[in-house]
């Protein structure tokens, strides 16, 4: 009995299950990718505080302040000078007032803004620089502050 010639054998593996797995992996990586890196600057090494609580019900109306180890405010990966930082905070306060106005929230002069300031200060930032930015926020009626820390040290 003649054996079939090998070059006539057409082998077609079923690629569909493989494609399914690849798409599932891709979906996983897309979902867990951090697309907020511009806002949550990874250069800032947060201090460690085990008693802080996990983030629950994250504020929708928020202003994220990233402060580097020299105490400068980081905005769009640029370190601002002291005057620029205060101008930025004032600008953000004006925006918060406009947003509140557009949402139908009437804010009288001096009334606290509904925006939560998320303070992400580097662990080695000098206190005086961080405190200066906090006071600048308070001067324009930001009153809700949320200090960020880590549960365990990162290196």
């Amino acid at each position: 009995m003649p054996r079939p010639r090998l070059h006539n054998v057409k082998y077609q593996p079923d690629l569909t299950p493989l494609l399914d797995v690849v798409f599932q992996l891709m979906t996983f990586f897309i979902m867990v990718s951090n697309f907020n890196q511009e806002v949550y600057d990874q250069r800032v090494r947060l201090p460690v505080a085990g008693s802080a609580r996990p983030i629950q019900n994250p504020a929708e109306d928020k202003l994220v302040l990233n402060i580097d180890e020299t105490g400068r405010l980081l905005v769009a990966s640029q370190a601002l000078s002291a005057d620029e930082a205060i101008k930025h905070i004032r600008f953000q306060a004006d925006l918060a007032r406009l947003n509140a106005d557009a949402a139908g929230i009437a804010l009288s002069a001096g009334e606290p803004l509904p925006t939560t300031v998320i303070l992400r200060a580097d662990r080695q930032a000098p206190f005086t620089e961080v405190f200066r930015l906090i006071r600048a926020c308070q001067d324009v009626n930001f009153s809700r502050f949320d200090l960020r820390a880590l549960s365990a040290p990162t290196y």
């Binding site: 690849v22 990718s33 949550y40 947060l46 201090p47 460690v48 505080a49 206190f127 009153s143 960020r148």
Partner: protein, 154 residues
């Protein structure tokens, strides 16, 4: 006359799609950097009015009063050297070298029914690294004291 049936088999080429999918997967694997889990402290800081001095004097032990305990805040000063390290902690007249000593003292004060502290005012040296202040905030939070305010030590 019937036309003979032609068995049409449509083959979708999956190989190019798989190539693209693998390239995307490689990109996401290489750029994947899980963000560390962040925690939060909620603070409602007092407005930027001049800080009033707290009332550190406890009631004398030999003259018990029937009045309800006064609402007090106590003042903690964090001292630092020029490098930003924590060199000492002062609680009223007491001085501690580290946070563990402060913790024991504060814990004893909070357990004392004669005192009703509702706020801690932390005064920090301007050069102090932020992590030391957060460590003290962490200690107060751990002891169940949520009303904490801080200001600059002059």
């Amino acid at each position: 006359m019937f036309r003979p049936r032609q068995s049409t088999e449509i083959e979708v080429p999956l190989t190019p799609m798989l190539d693209v999918a693998f390239q995307l997967l490689t990109f996401f694997i290489l750029t994947f950097k899980p963000a560390p889990m962040e925690l939060q402290f909620d603070l409602n800081l007092l407005p930027t009015t001049p800080q009033t001095q707290p009332e550190p004097e406890p009631p004398p032990e030999d003259s018990p009063s029937d009045e309800p305990p006064a609402i007090r805040s106590f003042q903690v000063s964090l001292l630092s050297d020029s490098t930003g390290g924590l060199t000492g902690i002062e609680l009223e007249e007491l001085r501690f070298d580290d946070i563990a000593g402060l913790r024991e003292q504060v814990k004893g004060l909070l357990e004392d029914p004669d005192y009703a502290f509702d706020q801690a005012l932390i005064r920090a040296d301007p050069d102090l690294h932020w992590e030391h202040l957060v460590a003290v905030l962490n200690m107060f939070s751990d002891l169940g004291m949520s009303k904490v305010n801080f200001t600059e030590l002059r």
